[in-house]
Amino acid sequence: MPKHELILLKNMTQPGYTGSLKDYEKAGGYQALKKILGKVQPADVTQMVMKSGLRGRGGAGFPTGVKWNFLPKDYKGPKYLCCNADESEPGTFKDRQLMERDPHQVLEGIAIAAYAIGAEHSYIYIRGEFVLGARILEKAVAEARAAGYLGKNVLGSGATIHIYVHRGAGAYICGEETALLESLEGKRGLPRVKPPFPATHGLYNKPTVVNNVETLANLPHIVNRGPEWFAAIGSPPKSTGTRIFCVSGHVKRPGNYEVPMGITLRELIFEHAGGMRSDKKLKAIIPGGASAPFLTEQHLDVKLDFESVAAAGSMLGSGGVTVMEEGTNMVWAALRLMEFFFHESCGKCSPCREGSSWLTQTLRRILAKRGRMEDLETLKQLCQNIAGRTVCAFGDAEVAPIMSTLQYWRHEYEELIREAEAHREKELPMAAARH
């Protein structure tokens, strides 16, 4: 049993809870929406969210209220809200649970945000593979509409709130907010050049907010219990609230754990997730999804909040915590992630497009014991030449596995290369003669 109160996962852990509208209402659902619609000014809802300190749960951790506040004031045309349900960061699987087990909590969050920013139409962009999740959401939207929580003149307030479920079709990059918008417009999911930002030029070039599922699911609770309550949870002032950490890899009990931000990696892995699955030692941790640099057992006491993880040289990211045990080949692990990034690079920016293929090939060669010592310097420089040189953050993400494994486990690379050199002298007399 958790030692702390669950917020987002609370309903679904109640015996017999099905996620239906009836169950959700019984658990106090849609009270928050009733509380604000027509009674609290939209701008005050935004203020409330700013005060709560809620930060985006998708990866970048941007303060949610501040993001809303960027929308142009007094804008007359349509504005849009997009719920980013493209959960595609390897190591992350929390949004799926939120949507499939308690869909109305997400919908209520969307409705609150839509009201706050004045969006009559909201789209849930859900990754294409989550077919079941999309069905559950569709059904929940229909229920909520029938009950008057969505549609025109919601709860007699005059507000119009439509929510549509839109399925992606298999592209990691569509989790990037501008790529998501492109994809939602029916195009190839290529990130846009910023500025302009979605707040002014988003979906259909209109002011748009894109928020993650977990971020939005927090809203009913913030409204119901007040921003002060929320701001006191976790590691205030900068990392407030709980996070759902998704633990995967070599642990006894992988899964989603909702905990206040600020508990340590050690607590998460050894208390919540049951520790290592075998008697092997912990070797490496990815603390925030595939885009986050690897950490080591040295970092077990790092607190899981935005600042602490960043200070340790990684990032809290999307909350995907992957644990690797002793014996895991770090070059292999880096290559697996690099292959992912190579497969998912949209191809827009030259450094990322060409770099991901170059890095992947070089890693493969090193792993296949055909590497050379100078490859390591090349790898490092290529990574440096990609990071910060691309339109979106993908470029920074894709170099994280290599940079961090080179930092902590360079000797594993070197061993493979030394073996390669030994072979090479036998197989390639020409190359040997050169030395």
């Binding site: 030259s350 293929s357 170059w358 339109v391």
Partner: protein, 889 residues
């Protein structure tokens, strides 16, 4: 009035130098303006920045990361550094990435020597690459007969894709796949089917997209270049003919060059092989024993001069007539009319401007006293409202079409279209898709839609008050005329609601910059001049007439239709143009020519043929024109020409007309001579010799000059420049060859005259709704129209264009096809009282129901179905449409 805008400027520092540029300028452009070239691949001034190649990174003070200069607008006080160590290292590293997968096949790449990747590599990269992995290889795929792709060379900058979308509105190029495996395709494995404008070839910074027409034929530095003007339509695009020896190798148009700003269409880009076609006439021919046989120039000219002298002695100058094609240069046209008037002594001369262009000019002269547009291409781009009437603009005037697209897509202009088109996406762009107020009707109903708009202007109180004050009678007369029209009748005939007409009228009337473009669907159809006049009424009524940036602009179909009129190579005008009877003009000419201009009236094309038939005209000089091929057989042009005692043709090819001649004199094409063309805007542009004349061919003016000497009335010129100078001395301001035309202002006196009295003469006819004869069941209206891929019959000898379109087929609406039981490719028999033909059909959504469109360039059979009727006022022969019965074979 057009708002006078002061351009806000911004001051910034680039590499230590302070510059002031307009607000909104991109850093890369600001740098270019001061001579700093920031390397780039994906950036192009015509396209919205995509910042994908990441090559143009620069340091901007107070910004932590390097920024792409192509997507960063300047800001006040910004400090930019483009060449620091950090920036140079970044450029090097991006280049290293781009080069990683690029094959080093430069030795066999057509782009080698003019390749951005080569140049930047030369500038930045060490000679060895750290890339030791396997290069990406795409399987080679066939792309199209005209355009080749080599995807291994692609740097994925997507300039081609963005050009095809943003500039052309064609969207034929698909970046497919993702990541490093992204390749440019069309639709799956289908070969490219598009406008073939060649824009993707021109805009590709590397050798990934090249022309198949010249593949492996050259190295760029071996080519000689001549900047000249395209000969295919009135748009007058600047092209660079590139040659090797006497072979034409390829055409390009430099970014920013010419009225076309570097953009071209298929005709301009792929149609250049006509000049060197194997069928070119290389020697003079004289008819002996009924057969045309090769002769020397001396014999041929003497033969012509001898016969002409005989006929002139016997029958006088009035027994002669002359006809010239509007593909000739101004110099040819000018010498031709001077030759006819002085050396022969007749005003019976005409040109192919008679086929329609003259209708527009006559209306402009009548209402506003100009013979040219009062607007320019820039005014089209800057217009807030554009009304297109019967332009078929994509096909007929593709580059003017790009200006319209730019106005709509980039600047949000409101587009109103009255076209024989339906909005539908196809392989070529469709202006109706961009239209905010589209009226898709048959050409014989254009007038009714225009009257509907005027009625809406009157009834909605949109008549400009100053006009109502200035010309109350005019306003009242038109008001009365349109009030007499009933909305239900208009609605029934046009299929448009009065509400939609009123919406369009409001949008048009309430903008401050409005341009009306009038195309061949008006000018080459009965009543063309009258409808153009009525469109001027619309502009007058809404108060736009006379304002800067506003005007009615009749589009020229042939490249020098406008020049033919201005050079006086038409029946009713002297050079200027001035009316034939204009005393002052005659005096000016007499002074310059040192001889009187003949008094007798001119004769239009159709009149000439009648006179030839009647025997009053006994000899004709025909220069680059082919009435026997252009007019339908029912016009019996051939028979008329056969009756002549002397028919002299100056031609490139043995056309239907030339085949009837007594003497055929081989003429040069535009590629072999100097001179000028005047485009549809009235801008005079240079024609420059690119290759030596083929065989013994000579420029038309030179042939006429030679003849004039033998006829004892020497018109001698050393070169084309001398003729240009003579034209300029006669017409001050002609051909100043600046960057753009200086449009004339309407002549107030003429406008006043029109508003007080001039409008009345044909008011009733112009303001009566058209009475289109509805086709009987099973009948369609057949339209012989311009294709995007050809121009007259001329281009049907261009091998590049024939690869794109080599035959004609009948385009019909799928609904009609359904009713007639036709599928794509079905063979059909078309028939009417005139005759019959068989052809294949092609189903096209953009063809309105009830219409069947056939490309005029392949009308050998189709012409048998057409009849011809000359306009009683302007003499324009109308022979573009008829009713036909269609049966499936």
């Amino acid at each position: 009035m057009a708002p006078t805008t002061t351009v806000e400027t911004v001051r910034l520092t680039i590499d230590g130098v302070q510059v002031t540029v307009p607000k909104g300028t991109l850093v890369i452009e600001a740098a270019r303006q001061m001579g700093v070239m920031i390397p780039h691949f994906c950036y192009h001034p015509k396209l919205t920045p995509d910042a994908n190649c990441r090559m143009c990174l620069v340091e901007i003070e107070k910004v932590p990361k390097l920024q792409t200069s192509c997507s960063t607008p300047v800001a006040e006080g910004m400090v930019v550094r483009t060449a620091t160590t950090v920036v140079n290292e970044a450029h090097k590293s991006v280049l290293e990435f781009i080069l990683a997968n690029h094959p080093l096949d430069c030795p066999v790449c057509d782009q080698g020597g003019r390749c951005d990747l080569q140049d930047f590599s030369h500038q930045y990269t060490p000679t060895t690459s750290r890339f030791a992995e396997t290069k990406r290889i795409f399987p080679k795929e066939y792309f199209s007969a005209a355009i080749e792709t080599q995807m291994n060379r692609c740097v994925q900058c997507l300039r081609c894709v963005r050009y095809c979308d943003q500039v052309m509105d064609v969207n034929a190029l698909a970046p497919s796949g993702r990541g490093t495996m992204t390749e440019i395709k069309h639709f799956g494995a289908h070969p490219l089917d598009c406008e073939f404008c060649g824009g993707c070839v021109q805009i590709c910074p590397v050798g990934a997209i090249t022309s198949r027409l010249s593949m492996y034929e050259f190295r760029p530095w071996m080519l000689k270049r001549a900047d000249t003007t395209c000969t295919y339509c009135g748009d007058g695009c600047q092209i660079t003919l590139q040659t090797k020896g006497n072979d034409l190798i390829e055409v390009m148009s430099a970014q920013g060059a010419g009225r076309n700003n570097g953009d071209l269409c298929a005709r301009g880009f792929f149609g250049y092989h006509v000049s060197t076609h194997q069928d070119r006439l290389l020697h003079p021919l004289i008819r002996r024993d009924g057969k045309l046989v090769q002769a020397t120039w001396e014999d041929a000219l003497e033969h012509v001069a001898g016969r002409a002298m005989q006929l002139k002695m016997a029958h006088g100058g009035q027994a002669f007539a002359g006809l010239i094609g509007s593909r000739c240069t101004n110099e040819d046209l000018y010498v031709f009319q001077k030759f006819m008037r002085l050396a022969i002594g007749t005003n019976k001369l005409d040109s192919s401007a008679r086929y329609g262009h003259i209708n527009g000019v006559r209306a402009l002269r009548r209402v506003q006293g100009t013979h040219r547009w009062t607007v320019t291409f820039e005014d089209i781009v800057d217009a807030q409202a554009l009304l297109l009437v019967g332009t078929n603009i994509t096909e007929a005037n593709p580059i003017t079409g790009l200006k319209v697209k730019e106005a709509v897509k980039k600047h949000g202009a409101a587009l109103v279209t009255i076209e024989a088109l339906q909005p539908a996406v196809g392989t070529i762009s469709n202006i109706a898709n961009l239209s905010a107020h589209h009226f898709g009707v048959h050409p014989d109903r254009f007038q009714t839609v225009v009257l509907g708009l005027i009625k809406a202007v009157v009834e909605e109180g949109l008549v400009a008050p100053p006009l109502a004050q200035r010309a109350p009678a005019y306003v009242k007369a038109i008001g009365d005329a349109v009030k007499a029209l009933a909305w239900p009748a208009i609605e029934q005939q046009t299929g448009a609601t009065s509400a939609s007409l009123k919406d369009a009228a409001r949008v048009f009337a309430k903008t401050s910059r409005a341009v009306i473009l009038v195309g061949q669907g008006v000018l080459r159809q009965p009543g063309g001049s009258g409808l153009t006049t009525t469109l001027l009424d619309l502009l007058l009524l809404t108060g736009h007439h006379g304002l800067a940036g506003c005007g009615v602009a009749p589009l020229a179909e042939e490249n020098n239709d406008q020049g033919a009129v201005e050079m006086g190579a038409v029946a009713e005008y002297l050079p200027g143009p001035s009316d034939l009877g204009d005393h002052a003009a005659r005096q000016r000419l007499a002074q310059l020519w040192k001889e009187e201009v003949p008094q007798a009236p001119g004769r239009t094309l159709m009149d000439m043929l009648d006179e030839a038939r009647a025997g009053t005209v006994k000899a004709m000089f025909i220069v680059g024109e082919n009435p026997a091929g252009a007019l339908p057989p029912s016009a019996k042009a051939g028979e008329a020409l056969e009756k002549l005692d002397l028919l002299v043709c100056q031609e490139l090819f043995l056309t239907e007309t030339a085949a009837l001649a007594h003497v055929v004199l081989p003429a040069c094409s535009y590629a072999e001579k100097d001179g000028t063309f005047t485009n549809t805007e009235g801008h005079v542009q240079p024609v420059r010799q690119a290759i030596e004349p083929l065989g013994e061919s000579r420029p038309d003016w030179e042939i006429l000059s030679g003849l004039s000497v033998l006829l004892g009335a020497p018109l001698e010129y050393g070169d084309a420049k001398e003729i240009t100078n003579e034209i300029r001395s006669l017409l001050p301001g002609h051909g100043l060859l600046g960057a753009g035309p200086k449009p004339p202002r309407p002549d107030d006196a003429v406008v006043t005259k029109y508003l007080t009295e001039g409008f009345r003469s044909d008011l009733a006819a112009r303001y009566a709704p058209a009475k289109p004869a509805d086709p009987h069941a099973g009948q369609l209206t057949l339209l012989s129209a311009q294709s995007l891929f050809h121009s007259g019959k001329f281009s049907t000898r261009a091998k590049g264009l024939l690869q794109i379109q080599s035959t004609g087929s009948l385009a019909v609406n799928p609904a009609d096809a359904g009713r007639l039981g036709l599928a794509d490719g079905s063979q059909v028999r078309l028939s009417n009282q005139q005759g019959h033909m068989t052809t294949a059909v092609k189903l096209l959504d953009r063809i309105p129901e009830g219409l069947a469109v056939f490309p005029e360039h392949f009308d050998q059979d189709l012409r048998r179905l057409l009849s011809v009727a000359a306009d009683p006022q302007t003499g324009v022969p109308y022979c573009k449409s008829t009713k036909v019965k269609i049966e499936k074979l």
